[in-house]
Amino acid sequence: MTTADPALESGPEQLRQWNRHAGVVIPPLLVFIAAIALWELVIEAFDIQRFLLPRPSEIASLFVEDFGRLIRQGRNTLGVAGRGLLLGGGIGIALAAITFRTRWMAEGVGIYAAVLKAVPVISLAPLTVVWFGIEAGSKIATVAIATAPILFTYTLVGLRSADANAQELMRSYAAGHVRTFWNLHVPYALPLFFSGMKIAVTIAMIVAIISEYFGGSFENLGGYIRNEANNVHTVEVWTAIVMACLLGISQYMIVAGIDRYVLRWHPSKRGG
């Protein structure tokens, strides 16, 4: 019993793993603390005015004080970003799934996806307001327009990356298109799909906040930033920025976590 204790057996390995994690976490943490300290120091040394650049400590205490409201506003922004991503991602993925087998179709759609990625989508915001109104509808539409081409491109390339021999193997089984799609193309598409998702969640958040900034309700991060900035409440603006950062980072980490779990069989995820 004593010799077979799994906790003891895995002790050194766990320690090594912990060391590895510490190596990843500690340096950025030190940089962060140094930056905050420098920030405070600069304000002290050059006597910078509060409305230009508030102290980190001041932002932190107001953040804690306003946490309830910021979370509520953050949730509304997240709702817009999420629904927009669902819509845009759904359209992008569906178009990729429909066109990936036919080169001319994929290229026909692909050109517009490339154009949409090049266009600063936010410039379309006034148009979507005309079409879908000043509230959530137009913002969801703008997020969808921004994220659809990203997920289309990544999913398309992923679906096409299926190994040639494996495709012939499915053909030799006389497997239909649907079975080949689910059994072969989808697993091959997953790594790139997740890469696309990591970019798309970030873009969705950015586009949601900016389109909120353009108009509509104040009960969201973008609207709140607009309102407080107009009144030169710089500390309040900063708390909203911090909340937006935290939400963005946690979204990214959730997607990255799902990615790691779902693709634990993939060469890029195992080992190391």
């Binding site: 190994d163 021999n165 494996a166 012939e168 193997l169 499915m170 053909r171 030799s172 089984y173 006389a174 497997a175 079975r179 059994n183 072969l184 697993p187 069989w265 993939h266 060469p267 195992r270």
Partner: protein
């Protein structure tokens, strides 16, 4: 159909033709860029036969195999598989194809890789319990007991290729088309796999068409060795292999075996000279 002479009573070659090529030609590309891969290929493979295709690189060995599998279509001539068009034979799941690369699905365990054809084909009249027994039996036959839950990346190249062999056998195709299946393995593993394959062939009623680069491998495994010329590929010579069964290491050390290896080697060098 002429049946080759075998000196054994243990292995009975059938009288029916399993695969036939008649005046088969295959061109890749078109116009000025077209390359002729094979031409005027006539070849009959009887049911239950083990035939090796050997020849210099680019002689169209794999092309012949892929034509039989309906992975590509001939530019001329006819290919018949089990008295059907290759397409119909493919739709009827008459053959199993084994690639040089194991071509396993990384996201599936060993067990689920072997189960893949059964999932796709939805073979009727086979209960799920019977399927499980069959997978178990095959995994133990290829020596992979205890590796059911492993993922392909946890296995060596030889083990991966054994999984792919079990996967090809699980739906009991009457024909195995093998494209240099052991080409990427080290020599010791390769020898073991060859003997294993030969044992499987002796135990089942399978016709095997086997593409290889290795002369000893071709001689050891086959009833007949088909030597092909370089591009465009044609049949240079068909050499019957009159070695006794079972083909063991003893057979590998016999004089007759060495004579046959020499015969194939000479035929092969003639095929290369003819190319120039």
């Amino acid at each position: 159909m002429t049946t080759p002479d075998t000196s054994s009573e243990a292995v009975q070659i059938g009288t029916q033709t399993a695969i036939s090529f008649e005046g088969v030609r295959k061109e890749f590309g078109s116009g000025v860029n077209a390359t002729l891969a094979i031409e005027m290929v006539d070849l009959n493979i009887a049911e239950r036969e083990f035939v090796s295709l050997i020849g210099p690189s680019g002689c169209g060995k794999s092309t012949l195999l892929r034509l039989a599998a309906d992975l590509i279509e001939p530019s001329g001539g006819t290919v018949v598989v089990n008295d059907k068009t290759p397409r119909q034979a493919r739709l009827d799941r008459d053959y199993g194809f084994i690639f040089q690369a194991p071509t396993l699905f990384d996201w599936r365990t060993v067990w689920k890789n072997v189960a893949l054809p059964l999932e796709i084909m939805k073979i009727s009249g086979m209960s799920s319990q019977k399927k499980e027994e069959e997978i178990e039996r095959l995994l133990s036959m290829v020596g992979l007991d205890g590796f059911e839950g492993h993922h392909p990346y946890q296995l060596s190249g030889g083990m991966q290729q054994r999984v792919s062999l079990a996967r090809a056998l699980v739906f009991r195709p009457s024909i195995l088309l093998m494209d240099e299946p052991f080409g990427a393995l080290d020599e010791i593993t390769r020898d073991r796999m060859n003997l294993e394959l030969h044992r499987i062939w002796e135990e089942t009623n399978t016709t095997i068409l086997f593409v290889t680069h290795s002369i000893p491998e071709a001689v050891l495994l086959s009833n007949r060795v088909v030597v092909m010329t370089a591009r465009p590929g044609r049949v240079q010579e068909i050499i019957p292999v009159d070695l006794p069964y079972p083909r063991t290491t003893e057979v590998e050390e016999s004089t007759r075996y060495y004579e046959l290896v020499t015969q194939v080697r000479e035929s092969l060098s003639k095929a290369m000279v003819g190319d120039r």
